[in-house]
């Protein structure tokens, strides 16, 4: 596992990594959206199922959506069995992918601390640690002294407004360099013959009765055996075009980075209660995020008062950041479901597949999202890990409520 690589050792420039073909008239599978999930799906369709007559259509530039905007935290310490299994499958794939894709995307298993500041946080945290251990996910409970030992810059003084009462630790969790993940997947998908087509917006669907037979785009109609949506924040805009209503609300979620600092922050620290999360990127920026804006929105920016709130929390937790300057803030559009869990699987419309609702936390799932989605598209049957995440759960009531473990308020 690489750690703290100097920047001259970073992988080559992405322009050389894939072709830019014109769209063909027809494909076996069209994937809408070249974010991490769309690219991982294309890669595993080829690698696991031998399906290579595939196009990934992207209205902007490759991986320029939430994939470019996320804060790169990877962990699998979710509460429910279904989610822990899905995210742990991803974490196991993260552990082998750099080698398999022959591309170093700086996956760094530096651990993730989820801090507890109230008695209820302590109960939730210890319960999740126990659930994780029973499910084969690495998890530990740390008391405040152990928190200080693991991450010496956290303020564990009892004299602050919300003292640190303990934390969960997942040692195998960490961060990865998001654009390099996308480029690595894109390069391999391209090598299998998948067409990655940028600047190609899906504007409608071709239909025969209850069946989808392709898509309309700004570059003309393209027919397809199967159409698979992986459009994150825009899933309901696309679904509207085909008359499908989704239990999804789109919200702005923002993040920010500081100027470069020398390495001081050895792990990822998240706090649900005071609401900030911080890690230090390989180059040295502090990467910080907080909750979503309360209202629906598609403008890719967030409210300033959320930044103020998160900075106040960060300063109380990390007094040594008091003089760090903010370099840049940005926003993405996340697709939030009522139970804070994704939706993966077939739709009531034949040949149309859905992968959405990852909300604020889908980056960590990128490999398993692609793995289970590719299986579902290739076989027409949901992958066992994806089955509980079907759209029907909102009708049956078998919700997978992960609001507590999702770690970003929405």
């Amino acid at each position: 596992m690489s750690h703290q690589l100097p920047s001259h050792q970073l992988p080559e420039h992405p322009d050389w990594l894939w072709r830019t073909p014109d769209p063909k008239r027809s494909y076996d599978v069209i994937i809408v959206g070249a974010g991490g999930h769309g690219l991982a799906t294309a890669y595993y369709l080829a690698r696991n199922h031998g399906i290579t007559n595939v196009a990934v259509l992207e209205r902007g530039w490759l991986a320029g959506g939430n994939m470019a905007r996320n804060t790169t935290i990877i962990r699998s310490n979710y509460l429910c069995e279904e989610s822990a299994a899905l995210y742990e499958h991803a974490l196991k794939l993260w552990e082998v992918l750099p080698q398999e894709l022959d591309y170093d995307f700086l996956f760094s298993q530096r651990g993730v601390l989820n801090l507890a500041h109230t008695l209820q946080d302590v109960r939730e945290g210890t319960r999740r640690v126990n659930a994780n251990r029973l499910g084969g996910v690495d998890a530990e409970w740390l008391d405040p002294d152990q928190v200080r030992e693991f991450c010496p810059i956290v303020n564990t003084s009892p004299d602050v407004r919300y003292p640190v009462l303990g934390a969960t630790l997942q040692p195998r969790a960490g961060i990865a360099k998001h654009d390099h993940v996308a480029w690595a997947l894109a390069r391999r998908a391209d090598a299998y013959g998948v067409d990655l087509i940028q600047g190609c917006e899906v504007t409608g669907f071709l239909r025969e009765g209850d069946r989808v037979t392709g898509v309309r785009t700004n570059r003309g109609p393209i027919s397809a055996g199967r159409v698979a949506l992986a459009a994150a924040g825009h899933s309901s805009v696309l679904a509207d075009l085909v008359g499908l209503r989704l239990p999804i609300q789109s919200h702005p979620l923002q993040a920010l980075v500081s100027e470069l600092l020398e390495p001081v922050h050895p792990t990822v620290v998240m706090s649900n209660h005071v609401h900030v999360y911080v890690s230090q990127a390989h180059k040295g920026e502090l990467v910080m995020g907080a909750g979503v804006d309360s209202y629906n929105g598609y403008g890719q920016r967030g409210s300033f008062h959320l930044i103020e709130h998160q900075m106040a929390a960060a300063l109380e937790l990390f007094p040594i950041f008091a003089r760090a300057h903010v370099l840049r803030t940005w926003g993405g559009i996340v697709d939030v479901t009522p139970d804070a869990s994704p939706i993966i699987g077939p739709t009531p419309i034949e040949n149309l597949y859905l992968n959405c609702g990852w909300g604020t936390g889908g980056f960590k799932a990128t490999p398993s999202s692609g793995w289970v989605y590719a299986h579902t598209i290739a076989t027409g049957e949901p992958h066992p890990l994806a089955e509980p995440f079907a759209l029907e759960r909102f009708t049956t009531g078998a919700l997978i409520d992960e609001h507590g473990a999702a770690a970003v308020a929405h």
Partner: protein, 97 residues
């Protein structure tokens, strides 16, 4: 930060308000008669347009009253605000565009 005109208190910062999601979602007229699918639709599915959206806000840190407004979900421009003031007898109810 949005500047929202509460129909009773005037323009205030977004911080004083609580968001209530889509407006005009009536409780089912015949709840007993609803299928599971229709219940799911009522409970979980709301519009999520990229454009004008009729939504509810409460002036939580002010007069605490609820009202509706129409906001553009890309530009955040507030296109109309509608109070829930009781309508005088004989007057038609205001209609949101």
């Amino acid at each position: 930060m949005l500047l929202i005109a509460c129909p009773w208190c005037g323009e205030r910062e977004e911080l004083e308000f609580h968001y209530g999601g889509q407006a005009h979602v009536p409780y089912p007229a015949d709840p007993e008669g609803l299928s599971d699918g229709e219940w799911a639709e009522y409970l979980f599915v709301r519009d999520n347009p990229k454009g004008p959206f009729a939504e509810r806000w409460s002036h939580a840190a002010g007069c605490r009253r609820w009202f509706n407004l129409i906001r553009h979900t890309v530009t955040h421009e507030i296109l109309a605000v509608q109070s829930n003031r009781p309508v005088a007898a004989g007057q038609p109810k205001p209609v949101l565009p």
